[in-house]
């Protein structure tokens, strides 16, 4: 809502600078988004008459000018000379301020001359680009008057953000009421004149819930033409395009009073009466914008004998609109319910200045005043005479009587607002207040339909008293705060991965429908069961992700395309899947709708070097062990045993370079190199890696506290063993055998060499482990080593059909 202050001042003049008024309104509940000032803050410049001009000897182009502001003469030094005696010019005398907050004072020149201010060009006044000379004004410019005021350029416009409850903020009068309430300045309220004379067109309201009032007025003998300049300037300042005197008058009245108005060419109405009703199946209407609209049985219409002539509250019909030949005007000053206009406006995607106001509720009481103002303006700008009218208002609504317990106001706001003060504040906004000392009965004014229940009055009292007077106290919750165990654990996961070289990404959870196609998933893979959106922002965002992988791989590609070749990203986020018995969604509430399952996932993606090359060390490409290392790191941070690992042959991964992660008999996820076909389809660098696991089961129990074994104070023994097994035996199985053989005194087991070659036999490999045994009860010796090696050998033979390399 744009509020030109000159217009506002017709109703209230708080005597405040625009900035101060803007602050006042903002903290009062009508937020001012901007203060537009056409002259950039120019003030104190007056219209002056030039008396004489004389060239100053010895200077290049300076002139000594005498001007009069009607009361005194002023001597001014000026560089320009495009004016002469008798001309009216803008004079910025000492004390004036030009745009950009340039303060004007007395200026002394080297020659000893003194200039008492300056004469100004249009550009210096912020009203144009012309800087060729001093602005020579109209000969009838009133000498001594404030220049910007005389030009109407002092008009500051406030741009308001009006919340849905404060519909009154969409009218000059409404804003003026708030200014008066907040400052105590006197409010000049115009008075409605009820229609008299020939009642004119009869109106039948078929749906009194949706159309509560219809004040119709008839004016004959108008001359349609452009509005006078002041009206055009005013509408433009308020953000509306001037059209013709009749239409401009309806818009002026709407902006001023808040009640939208529609004007019809009476001659084009098919008599004898108007009906307000809902649309019938198959009806159409060509609206003012030239669009033929198929009407919905939920649309409320204004109809004449031939059918629809307007979409109520939204837009008029083209056939009956005001035109150059209009002689008689029928004004519709009605009241429509917010819901009906809102639904119709959205259905036809027609958001107009009118519908904007109906949506925020217009009180039926404003109709006669808006009608009165509109008629006045039409008669003044288009001529004609008011024939008469009729006000159809079948069921005036009862105004609510609200019980206000003033003690509760205080205990809700936490401010000590006294009973008398509360009463006084409510009366400032025209509430009728009666009742006991501590408990009031409050009838809000018609212009505040948003005030319905007791808490609404708390807000009114708070804002009129001043939100800034609410103290700042911090309550004690009486409980120990904390994260939920899952949230605490998830944070530990994220931080441990970041500390281990992975960078956290957040990708948008929308995906195109074919996103999972490139992953070569089997037909029955649950990740193919995508949940689609009713109104996606684009085709590329038409479903919710069932896996984080495609989004994260897009991020990899984006980095590579931007010449960042070494990528290691992770993301923690939710995927969306149809609910199942094993993984149900959250409860949907009383409606009983089933919500999707939202498993919490952790995904990895990497390509290029995991460790970049340095001057002293070559780089190292990321591989599957970096991903498994990431998994190990998070398990350590969570205080849990890392999941078991087996070779995976699962799309979208390389069949020989991926690992399944197992925990408690369930597969948590898979990490590994992507299948070369997936890499090619997605345009990723060779050997791109990815992985995804369900984080929910890992974090559900929160972080486990670490338990520590007592280190042995006695010397232990350290020795190596090398195990020869067939190449196909997994290293994890070999280690398990070695550990089992070493027994309970094993305190360290580290694989330090993997070797295959003729020395260990064709089809075999050798795995060498560095072991340590400790016994807190006694010192260990060579005999213990010999015994351990024998046990290990036996375990290796039995469990992995291997032997020790001696």
């Amino acid at each position: 809502m744009r509020v030109p202050l000159s217009w506002l001042r017709e109703f209230v003049d708080p005597g405040l600078e625009p900035g101060a008024l803007a602050d006042l309104l903002t903290v009062g509940g009508l937020a001012v988004e901007s203060v537009d000032c056409p002259t950039g803050g120019t003030r104190g410049v007056v219209v002056a008459e030039v008396i004489d001009v004389a060239r100053i000897e010895g200077t290049d182009k300076l002139h000594l000018v005498h001007v009069s502001d009607g009361t005194a003469e002023h001597e001014i030094v000026c560089g320009a000379s495009n004016y002469g005696p008798g001309d009216r010019v803008p004079a910025a005398l000492p004390g004036a301020v030009l745009q950009g907050n340039v303060q004007i004072g007395r200026k002394k020149f080297r020659s000893g001359l003194v200039s008492n201010g300056m004469l100004a060009s249009p550009r210096e006044l912020g009203v144009g680009d012309d800087h060729a000379g001093i602005w020579v004004l109209d000969p009838d410019a009133p000498v001594g008057d404030d220049l910007t005021q005389w030009l109407g350029l002092d008009d500051v416009v406030l741009e308001l953000e009006v919340t849905p409850d404060r519909g009154y903020g969409l009218s000059m009068l409404g804003v003026a009421r708030d200014v008066a309430a907040l400052t105590g300045a006197e409010l000049r309220v115009p008075h409605p004149v009820a229609p008299t004379g020939d009642p004119g067109v009869p109106v039948t309201i078929e749906d009194a819930d949706r159309c509560r009032r219809f004040d119709g007025r008839t004016i004959r003998g108008v001359r349609v033409g452009p509005s006078p300049a002041w009206l055009q300037r005013r509408l433009a300042a308020a953000g509306m395009r001037p059209l013709s005197n009749i239409v401009d008058a309806t818009n002026h009245a709407m902006l001023e009073i808040g009640n939208p108005i529609h004007a019809y060419d009476l001659a084009l109405l098919a008599g004898p009466s108007i009906v307000v009703r809902v649309a019938r199946l198959g009806e159409t209407l060509r609206t003012l914008d030239g669009v033929d609209r198929a009407l919905d049985p939920d649309d409320l219409l204004i109809c004449d004998a031939d059918g629809p002539i307007a979409l109520a509250g939204v837009m008029g019909g083209e056939h009956t609109e005001i035109n150059d030949h209009t002689d008689a005007v029928f004004l519709e000053v009605a009241n429509f319910s917010s819901r009906t206009v809102l639904r119709t406006a959205r259905r036809h995607q027609l958001l107009t200045e009118g519908s904007k106001r109906w949506e925020k509720t217009v009180p039926p009481e404003s109709a006669p005043l808006a009608a009165t103002r509109c008629v006045e303006l039409i008669l003044a700008t288009a001529g004609g005479r008011l024939v008469g009218g009729r006000d159809t208002y079948p069921n005036p609504p009862e105004r609510p009587v609200i019980r206000l317990r003033m003690g509760r106001t205080r205990s809700t706001l936490g401010v000590d607002v006294g009973d008398d003060r509360q009463r006084e504040l409510l009366e400032r906004i025209d509430c009728e207040v009666t009742g006991e000392p501590s408990e009031l009965r409050v009838v809000p004014p018609a212009w505040r339909p948003d005030l319905q229940i007791e808490v609404d009055l708390y807000e009114e009292i708070a804002r009129l008293h001043g939100y800034d007077r609410i103290p700042e106290t911090v309550p004690s919750s009486g409980q120990v705060g904390g994260r939920d165990p899952g949230g605490e654990a998830t944070r530990a996961v994220r931080r441990s991965l970041a500390a281990a070289g992975w960078s956290e990404a957040l990708t948008l959870p929308f995906a195109p429908e074919d996103d999972v196609e490139a992953l070569l998933l089997p037909q029955d893979d649950p990740r193919r069961s995508q949940i689609s959106l009713v109104n996606p922002l684009s085709k590329e965002e038409s479903v919710l992700r069932t896996t984080l992988l495609p989004g994260l791989l897009r991020a990899v590609r984006r980095n590579v395309n931007r010449q960042v070749p070494d990528v290691s990203l992770f993301e923690v986020g939710r995927a969306f899947l149809p609910p199942t018995d094993e993984e149900p969604g959250a409860p949907g509430g009383p409606g009983g709708v089933a919500l999707p399952a939202e498993p919490l996932l952790l995904a990895f993606a990497a390509c290029g070097n995991f460790e970049p090359p340095r001057h002293d060390r070559p780089g190292r490409m990321a591989d599957v062990y970096d991903l498994l290392g990431g998994v190990t790191v998070i398990c350590r941070a969570l205080g849990i045993v890392p999941p078991g690992v087996t070779a995976a042959n699962d799309p979208p991964y390389h069949p020989g370079r991926a690992a399944r992660l197992h925990r408690d008999g369930q597969i948590l996820g898979v990490v590994g190199e992507l299948h070369p076909r997936v890499v090619a389809t997605l345009g990723l660098p060779e050997r791109t890696l990815a992985g995804e696991l369900r984080l929910g089961p890992l974090v559900a129990g929160g972080r486990r506290a670490a338990t520590a074994a007592q280190p042995s104070p006695l010397p232990g023994v350290r020795f190596d063993v090398a195990v020869i097994v067939e190449t196909t035996v997994p290293a994890a199985d070999v280690e398990r055998a070695v550990r089992a053989g070493a027994g309970e005194n094993l305190s360290a087991c580290r694989l330090f060499d993997v070797f295959s070659g003729s020395q260990v036999g064709e089809g075999n490999k050798s795995l060498a482990y560095a072991l340590a045994l400790d016994d807190p009860a006694r010192q260990l010796n060579d005999a213990d080593v010999t015994a351990a090696i024998e046990r290990i050998e036996q375990a290796v033979v039995e469990q992995v059909s291997g032997r020790l390399r001696r």
Partner: protein, 340 residues
């Protein structure tokens, strides 16, 4: 041997030590004078053949000469060792201005970390963390929060609706399932699940039907706060939010002004003064009695406040980020600025 000879021998030895340029030369000189077959050693050996009085006298002088030589040798050895170390260690010098060897460091997303920082403040104030689903039912997202049936926020222009089996669409395509537009549904979920008092914060992702631009994303984050007790006031609300702003942004000027939300009354917004203008930071208010009733609480018995804060906006302020899209582009040149 005469006393003169012994003195000459000592003087020669001292000179030889002083002239030794290497440790090897010093060792050789030492061997020549005091070694097993050294000059002084042979004098000492000859003492046995001397008469008692001469032997005592010469013995004393030999010992003195030996002590003087030993001291000179030790001093010279010290000098030569220092010299040797200096040369050897100088040759071993490395350039300490070469790049340090830093373990590979990742990064944490600034929005997540800003949320964690906000949660930390509320945990410190005694709040617990609650969560809710991102795909919500109309009931939790709107109905329970006192939204009228035709509220504009419920339109397809503002809210992204979800198609799902069992979720029937109306003529406009609106279903009972949607991507939550705020974290406020967690208010209702929490109140339905537990009796008062309630002090929770609910961080999470929220959605709007906005095309991504410098200041909008279709999926962003919010932290909801809810405090319900017997006597909470708007002053408690204001004080709590001031604590948050002080903790995260320091001592910035703030402005508390009226606003409107369907689920709070009175409602407010908190602005902060940044870069020469007021910037809206968050919305809040006293929980509307209709919301309390919908969640099974009695508004005559309990009252409290709620607030919703966008971490993206706060992260932009904290880190000097001017385009919100950077948060979801996953560009490592951007992400790596935020250390683990």
């Amino acid at each position: 041997m005469s006393a003169v000879d012994l003195e000459a021998l000592q003087a020669d030895g001292l000179r030889a030590y002083a002239e030794a340029q290497t440790l090897d030369a010093l060792d050789a000189a030492k061997n020549f004078y005091v070694g097993r077959r050294g000059a002084l050693t042979s004098v000492q050996r000859s003492l046995g053949s001397l008469p008692e009085n001469e032997r005592r006298d010469l013995g004393a002088r030999v010992n003195a000469a030996r002590a003087a030589l030993a001291q000179a040798e030790s001093q010279r050895r010290h000098v030569l060792e220092e010299e040797r170390d200096r040369v050897v260690l100088a040759a071993e010098a490395v350039d300490v201005t070469l790049p340090p060897r830093v373990p590979k460091l990742g990064s944490l997303h600034p929005v997540q970390e800003t949320m964690e920082a906000m949660v930390d403040v509320f945990v410190g104030l005694g709040y617990r963390v609650a969560t809710g689903p991102e795909v919500e039912s109309d009931w939790f997202n709107f109905e329970a929060l006192n939204y009228q049936p035709d509220h504009p926020a419920r339109s397809l222009m503002d809210t992204i609706y979800v198609r799902a089996p069992g979720a029937e669409a109306d003529q406009q395509g609106v279903t009972d399932l949607l991507l939550r537009t705020h974290t406020s549904p967690v208010q209702a979920r929490t109140m339905l699940a537990q009796p008062p008092p309630v002090y929770i914060v609910a961080p999470g992702r929220v959605y709007r039907a906005d095309i991504a631009d410098a200041t909008h994303l279709p999926a962003f984050h919010q932290i909801e706060g809810l405090a319900i007790d017997t006597d909470l006031t708007m002053a408690d609300l204001r004080g709590t939010l001031v604590e948050l702003v002080h903790a995260l942004l320091g001592d910035v000027p703030m402005r508390f002004r009226p606003h409107h939300f369907p689920f709070t009354e009175p409602s407010a917004e908190l602005d902060i003064w940044l870069d020469g203008r007021w910037v809206e930071l968050l919305g809040c208010g006293m929980v509307h009695p209709n919301v309390l009733r919908a969640c099974g609480y009695d508004p005559e018995e309990v009252q409290g406040f709620a607030f919703g804060i966008g971490p993206e906006r706060l992260a932009m302020r904290r880190h000097g980020i001017s385009d919100m899209r950077l948060f979801v582009e996953s560009d490592l040149r951007f992400l790596s600025a935020f250390p683990a």
